[in-house]
Symmetry: C2
Subunit: 205 residues, 2 copies
Amino acid sequence: MSITERKAKEKEELRALILQGAKKLFVENGIEQTTIRNIADEISYSVGTVYVYFKDKDSILHELHTLGFKQLGGEMRVLMSVAEPMERLAAIGRVYVRFAVDNPDMYDLMFNMKAPMEFLKKVEEEEWNEGKATFNVLKTTVEQCMAQGYFAGHQLEPLSFTIWSTVHGMCSLYIRDRIKAVNLGDPELMLFAAHEEFVKLLNKK
Amino acid sequence: MSITERKAKEKEELRALILQGAKKLFVENGIEQTTIRNIADEISYSVGTVYVYFKDKDSILHELHTLGFKQLGGEMRVLMSVAEPMERLAAIGRVYVRFAVDNPDMYDLMFNMKAPMEFLKKVEEEEWNEGKATFNVLKTTVEQCMAQGYFAGHQLEPLSFTIWSTVHGMCSLYIRDRIKAVNLGDPELMLFAAHEEFVKLLNKK
DNA sequence: TTTAAAATTTGAACAATGTTCATTTAATTT
DNA sequence: AAATTAAATGAACATTGTTCAAATTTTAAA
């Protein structure tokens, strides 16, 4: 099995190399500006090879999308160590916003792109597991806040979705340059200031 | 001047015809799926003609983008007749969400697309006037809420941006199919339910 | 009315992109 | 060493946005 094993490993490595090259170019030049030829050049392989390892461009997007969730999900789960749920809720938001600022293209891919979702549809309702897991960290935290008397009269799921929406909305408007567009000063400052306002809103009993 | 006038009118009409055809196809098939050739076919003109009237595809997007804001802005300004600012704030949100649900492609173009914003950049910081005007309706309303004792300890601009973010975030997650993705039941129901949760949050003094 | 000039429309042609697949090259097995 | 299998290649295709010289139509002039 040694050769077979080695081959399998090599295949995995090339696959990873393609992903790595793709991610580098995505981050450097944006997703739409990155062509398959670019990726092939970047890793010194031919276009055809890329297609041996990935069905199409969307597959690459989908894979990176999953990697992005691994990272964000990891950062979120660390926060489960924050005991106070309301404090944790604020921290989750801050980490989320920070992730979007530091990895705008990745964020875009994960939450704004149509492509990877269409991919999911094709695979007969395969689950958006990474996304769900991340959302559940939030939902659990909101639930614990409610147990402490916050959010009286609210419904768990719609409220959790609302909270996600707020932070996501900020990040999207930031990434898609709408903060500049309405003259709200330095975009990054406004982004974090707005999150603080939101935390204030949430803290009202 | 009769002939010159007529010609000018005809030019305007053809321009409008192109936009109308483009919008129809956008709504029918989505923006990315609509090609210049499609638009030309739709109105029975050649590709070249489209390029006589519009510099490139982005120009068409930008024009439709402006039309979208005319519509949304109009709907918002009607709400200025609602005397109670907090009530108006809720109504603004509802109208906004309704707009997004009824015109998802238009909404996407206005708030999520990169293209029209790049267009703005090129034209040397031309103002996003329609967008600003719409945001100002919100800001003014928030200001009036504050005058009534709501949002004590909050800052006007970041808070207004936060509110916009929440509603925008919901709409974007809806349009980009992320509500389905986390199994939150019927997307449209969740969207409106979440907005009601948000209104509850805002009403806390 | 006829002809010249100007304006408008056209669609073939180009470059860039995602994608495919017959062919070539390399690796493995006999 | 030869035959077989696996992997990699890049030329070629279809589809896009875009351009522009040529054809057509409209207007103005003779």
